[in-house]
Amino acid sequence: MTNTLVAGFSSEFWERAQEGVLVRPVCQSCQKSFFSPQVLCPRCQSDAWEYKESSGTGAVYSFTVIHRPPDIHFPSPLVVADIQLDEGWRMFSWIVGISDSKIELNDRVKVAFINFSGRKLPVFELAKEAI
C-alpha cells in the first residue's frame, strides 16, 4: 500500500491541471490512453502506465444542459458533457462560453481552464475553427 503509484495514482491529473495542462494515463505496455485513472490499465491490466500531456482536442459524444444544478455553487444552466478526446479516452467535463442551443453532438472542442471552487478545472470550448 506504500507503492507511490497506488498512493498518488490520480493526484497528478489535478496537479497538472493547476498548471493549465491536461494529462491522461497512457499504458506503456499497450500504448492506449484510458480514463478515469486506475491502478491497472483497463485494456491489458499492466501497472506500467504514466501520465502524458493531452492535445486537449476532441469531440462532444453527448451533453446535457442542467437547469437545476445540485447545489448553489454551480452556475446555472450548466452544460455537462461526455468528451471524446482525440487520443482515445473520455472524460466528464463542462462546455463553457456558448449557449446550449448551439451545441450539437460530435462538435469539435478544445480544453480550457477555469478557476472554480478554489482550483483550476479543465473544461471545454467549442473549437472556433477546424482542429
Binding site: W14, F35, Y61, T64, H67, D71, L78, D82, F92
Partner: protein, 383 residues
C-alpha cells in the same frame, strides 16, 4: 437447474416525501408486515438480503450482517452482493433452491434522511472525476437519452403520454406518494421545468421515504402460507460497469437489458407477448420506452410509437407500472427496486390497490437501466 422458490409474503409501509422516523425503523416495520403476510415470525428467517442503513454497526457497505444485532438472529445465508430488488430476490431464490437456507427476507427503504433540498444526496456519486462536474443520477441518464433523441427523434407528445399514463395510475392510488395529484396530460409533462435536457421534472422519478419487504421460500413451503405463492420463474442480470462513475454511452449501454431479458424469457419458456404485467424500472420516462425496445417488442427508435399504438394502461395491451411506478408511487433510494416486486406480487395475487390487471398470471419485473450501466430482470408467476 431450475429455481424452486416463491414469494410468500410482502410488506409495505406508508410512502411519503418525508417520514419522521428512521431508516431502520421503517425497514423493520416492512419486514414485520411481510412476515405477518406470510404467516411467519422473525424466528422463521434463516436468510437475509437487506442493506444496513445505520446508525450503528460497521462502515462496511452494504453491511447486511449488521442486521443480526437488531433482529437477534444468526443466519445461514446472507446476500451481501446487491441486497434489494430483482438481484436480491434472485439471489435469495438461488440460495433457497440449493438448500443454503429455507426462508430469506429481502427488504429496504429510508426515512428521516431526505431534507428539503431539491436533490437527494445519494443521487450524487462520490468520485473525484464525477462530483466536480455537478452530475447526478438523472444527468447520467440524460447523456444517454440525448444521443437516442438525436438519432431517432421520438415524438415528444407520445413520450409525454407515457409519463402521463404512469403518473395517472399513481394519481388514483391512495398508497402512492403522488395520490390526488393530476390528472396529467402530455402538455403537463413538457410544461414542467426542464431539469437536465431532455428531461423535464415530470419525466423523472421521485425521491421519497418508506420501506418494503418480501419473504422468499421454497414453493412447497409457500403453499402452506396464507397467500397464493408467487413463483420466481427466472431472471438474469447484466453488470457492465459500476454505476455513475465513468460516462455512460448510448453505443455501449443504450440496449442494456436486451441480453438479460432474453435469457430471462428463454429460461421461463416465455416470450414478451406472454407477459400480462410489466413492472419496469422507470427512473425516467424514456427508460420505459427503451425497455420496450430491448424486450424485442419493437425496433430501436420505435418505442414511443409502439406504446402509443398498443397502450400501457392497466386495461390495455401492455399494463405497465400499475401502482404509479417510481414516477408517482415512490422511490425510496436503495429500497426502490424492491417496490417493483411488491407491486407485481399484489397484482398476481389479484390484490392491487388500484389498476388491477385482469387475469394477471405472469409479470416481468426489472431494475436499474442504461445510465446506471447495469440491468436486471425476473419473471414472477402464479398458477
Amino acid at each position: 437447474m431450475a429455481l424452486n422458490a416463491a414469494i410468500a409474503g410482502i410488506g409495505l409501509t406508508k410512502q411519503a416525501k418525508f417520514l419522521d422516523s428512521t431508516s431502520i425503523s421503517v425497514c423493520v416495520e416492512a419486514l414485520k408486515l411481510a412476515l405477518e403476510d406470510a404467516g411467519m415470525q422473525l424466528s422463521d428467517i434463516d436468510g437475509i438480503s437487506a442493506r444496513w442503513p445505520g446508525p450503528g454497526g460497521t462502515s462496511f457497505d452494504p453491511g447486511v450482517v449488521d442486521w443480526t444485532e437488531i433482529l437477534g438472529s444468526s443466519f445461514r445465508w446472507v446476500g451481501d452482493t446487491y441486497p434489494q430488488g430483482v438481484p436480491g430476490v434472485l439471489d435469495a431464490a438461488a440460495a433457497i433452491s440449493t438448500g443454503l437456507c429455507e426462508v430469506a427476507v429481502v427488504f429496504g427503504g429510508q426515512a428521516g434522511v431526505l431534507s428539503n433540498s431539491n436533490l437527494a444526496s445519494y443521487t450524487r456519486p462520490v468520485n473525484e472525476f464525477v462530483e466536480p462536474w455537478g452530475l447526478f443520477t438523472a444527468a447520467h441518464f440524460a447523456l444517454i437519452a440525448q444521443v437516442y433523441f438525436q438519432r431517432y427523434q421520438p415524438d415528444r407528445q407520445r413520450l409525454s403520454d407515457v409519463a402521463a399514463t404512469i403518473r395517472n395510475a399513481g394519481s388514483i392510488n391512495p398508497k402512492a406518494v403522488m395520490y390526488g395529484r393530476g390528472p396529467y396530460r402530455a402538455e403537463d409533462i413538457t410544461d414542467s421545468p426542464l431539469i437536465c435536457e431532455p428531461f423535464h421534472l415530470l419525466d423523472l422519478c421521485l425521491a421519497t421515504e418508506g420501506a418494503s419487504a418480501v419473504v422468499v421460500t421454497s414453493i412447497e413451503r409457500a403453499k402452506d402460507c396464507p397467500n397464493k405463492p408467487v413463483k420466481i420463474l427466472s431472471g438474469s442480470s447484466e453488470w457492465y460497469r459500476q454505476q455513475y462513475v465513468n460516462p455512460p454511452r448510448y453505443d455501449e449501454v443504450g440496449k442494456i437489458g436486451k441480453d438479460a431479458i432474453s435469457r430471462t424469457f428463454s429460461a421461463a419458456g416465455l416470450a414478451a407477448t406472454d407477459i400480462d404485467l410489466f413492472e419496469l424500472y422507470d427512473i425516467n420516462t424514456w427508460e420505459i420506452v427503451r425497455q420496450f425496445e430491448v424486450m424485442g417488442l419493437c425496433e430501436e427508435g420505435e418505442g414511443v410509437d409502439f406504446i402509443h399504438e398498443n397502450g400501457i394502461g392497466s386495461n390495455q395491451k401492455f399494463p405497465t407500472n400499475t401502482d404509479g411506478g417510481l414516477l408517482s408511487f415512490s422511490h425510496t433510494g436503495w429500497g426502490g427496486p424492491t417496490l417493483k416486486i411488491v407491486e407485481a406480487v399484489n397484482q398476481l395475487r389479484g390484490n392491487a390497490t388500484t389498476g388491477q390487471v385482469q387475469k394477471a398470471e405472469t409479470a416481468l419485473v426489472t431494475g436499474a437501466g442504461s445510465g446506471a450501466q447495469y440491468f436486471n430482470a425476473a419473471i414472477l408467476s402464479v398458477d
